[in-house]
Amino acid sequence: MIEWLGMPVGASAHAVEVDRLMALVHWLMLVMFVGWSTYFTYVLVRFRRGRNPRASYHGVRSRWSTWAEAGVLVSEVVLLVFFAIPFWSRQVDALPAEQGSTVVRVVAEQFAWNVHYPGPDGVFGRTSSDLVSADNPLGLDRRDPAGRDDLTLVNELNLPVGRPAIIWLSTKDVIHSFALPQMRVKQDAIPGVLQPVWFTPSETGQWEIVCAQLCGLAHFRMRGIYRIQTPDEFQAWLAEEAKYLPAY
């Protein structure tokens, strides 16, 4: 089923679960639609005026429709209780430990994704809106010792495969929505709110960061690139980027 739905490739650990639920729900929908349409067509043909000139006052008397409805209810409860709710508490609500994860900040603005890595010390440097300028969109304070080794990028996010990634998401201006379709990740970035989102990439590749919420005139091209790399590639990339850090 999942192949014909035509979803983008799923490349994170939890994508499998989301896709399984997606397939199950669509099976349920298909069964209901086909069953129901078959009956509908039958009724239209069988009870057309030409075939049945006199209607029956009582109509259907059997109770099978009640059973069908009970079936729908039971399927919905199953989907909810065994799939949807546990998934949410395990995947969306709970955060993995920061040690052992790649931690990144992403700050959305009209119309770009600012990406902030803490650097080898694992601590994000201080940021301040007073320091925001065209070449320092995050307002990072490079004088803060924790901020000297931080990497900042625009519209570019690299992550290692097989390791949980925690992204602390926020926005400077309006609501945006941070979506990585192949990771089955989408999270609104809401002004005044710092919101974590996490996932574990399971395949390497290069795809696009999408803005999924109308955020102004150039919403349609608020696009970034993200790469899922092998751990070695990722380390090499970090080292390469560090070479370009300003010296203090």
Binding site: G6, M7, P8, E17, V18, L21, V25, M29, M32, F33, W36, Y39, F40, V43, F47, R48, R49, N52, R54, A55, S56, Y57, G59, V60, E69, V72, E76, L79, L80, F83, A84, F87, W88, V92, S129, K172, D173, V174, I175, S177, Q182, R184, K186, Q187, D188, I190, P191, G192, V193, W207, E208, V210, A212, L214, G216, L217, H219, F220, R221, R223
Partner: protein, 601 residues
Amino acid sequence: MAGPSPWATHLSHAGPCSLAALRTAWLRYPNLLRRYLFSTDHKVIGLQYAFTSLFFLLVGFSLAVLIRWQQAYAGQPLPLLTLLVGEVNAPGGIMLPEFYNQLGAMHGTIMVFLGVVPLAVGAFGNYLVPLQIGAPDMAFPRLNLASYWFYAAGGVVMLASFFVPGGAAMSGWTSYPPLADFAPQGQTWWLAGMLLLVLSSLLGAVNFITTIVQLRAPGMTWFRLPFFVWTQLITSFLLLLAFPALQAAAILQGMDRLAGTSFFLPSGLMVGGQAVDVAGGGSALLWQHLFWFLAHPEVYVLVLPAMGIVAEIIANNSRKPVFGYRLMVYSIFVLGFLSFTVWAHHMYLTGMGTTISAIFQATTMIISIPSVIVLSALVLSLHGGSIRFNTPMLFALAFLPMFGIGGLTGLPLGLAATDIPLHDTNYVVGHFHYLVAPGTIFALFAGIYHWFPKITGRMMNETLGRLHFAGSLVTMNLIFFPMLMQGMAGVNRRLWDGGAIYQHAEPVLYLNVPMAHAAFGLALVQVFFIVNLFMSLKGGRRVTANPWEATTLEWAAPTPPRAHGNFDELPRVYRGPYEYSVPGMDVDFLPQHVPDAKAGA
């Protein structure tokens, strides 16, 4: 109640000089104005609503055709476009994103608030409810008149906003702040327009509730009400209880924009690298809660009257009672009630915890049950019938599977896990359009074909009706099914270029072209309807008072029903609304007002 409207007379005497022209016209053509513009007769007001809302449906639909065209051919010059919408909006035939975003926001707003609701409630409700309950008019005829004029004023404000500097609202029909707080002037006009429309709906709602409670004819007990009247009653309660939330929210957003408050603006915002000079401390999410607290019940306002219309037409054309009438009534009670408990399923991805998301997922699944019951009952009603396939019936029947697709595609959106990939994609657009376009709009067409002979004493043309039906059914599906496919592939909604810059959209991007052509085709087949409507007014086949051999009270009134008063003699009701094919009778229908079974035969 009969006679000239005191309210209108008052206007003409006390009106300031801007009303001078009106006053002259009033003096010259007093009868015409009183009869057609300021009448307090629910039927005239219903028709005013009908024509105005059909006009707005056409406007809203034209905007949608432009949206679809743009998504298919983004950036390709279309010189005609500059002619249509002006150099400011489409220089050199290329639509600017500024204008594209106005189209999206205003299409949604116009369709929902100026098109479908006023047609379903203002027009059908107004015209039919008093007739179906055997009342001479609405309980508050002048409130009714005021409700129409607030609606018309709201419509004028919304249309005018296209011409103010910066153009109309461009932050989606949802108007999420901070974006909407920072948008050009058009957004303020949008808020003002909404306030007028809300006022109109509130006045209408109290009127419907009072009318249905107080003015039922003798013998019209609750469980003898036609299902359509029930849907209007529940709808009115939804409007009455949900709209004030938006009313308040619109005032707060207006203050954010005009008075420097920051209800929806948190501290520390920076736009374009500059700190925004506001007090801060507000919450952007507060708006979403207030908006969806209205807008989810509003969705049921869009579908309940449609279910009511379909039920009437199915009972009449299958010549048998609807299946499970009481069950259907209880179901829509539950539906109405629960519709206030699901609003946050539009907000799963705003950062919700497990408990809250579990609650809203559960209510969302529960509310699907009464909807399934009503839809199943309508299908089961056909079983054992003797089905006539006329134009109204065709539209009513097509409503069922189309509405079914709309409802089913709601399931993956209602489960938070599967909402992650689908949220804000074209899957959502496809889902709700199946409910409101080939769903509700088909029901409304069905209603027009069905009640036209009561209103005018003439039939609409069957051949044109069938062409209209077949063309609409095919093109609607060609527009909306591909949207589901695109959304599944991850193509987002509200994109100026229809998703062209994204790689993952590539496999389904070609669908934008057939969708654009189908939208154009849908526009073309509406010509059959428009021609039919106007042609039949003058040239349709003449019919008697009850051409469909129906049982409900509107068919007991003369055709057209008497101005001010409806019935020659107020009816008395003896039985339920759908006594078709009663065993032992020669005739297959037994109207509600006929004293005993013999007399009906």
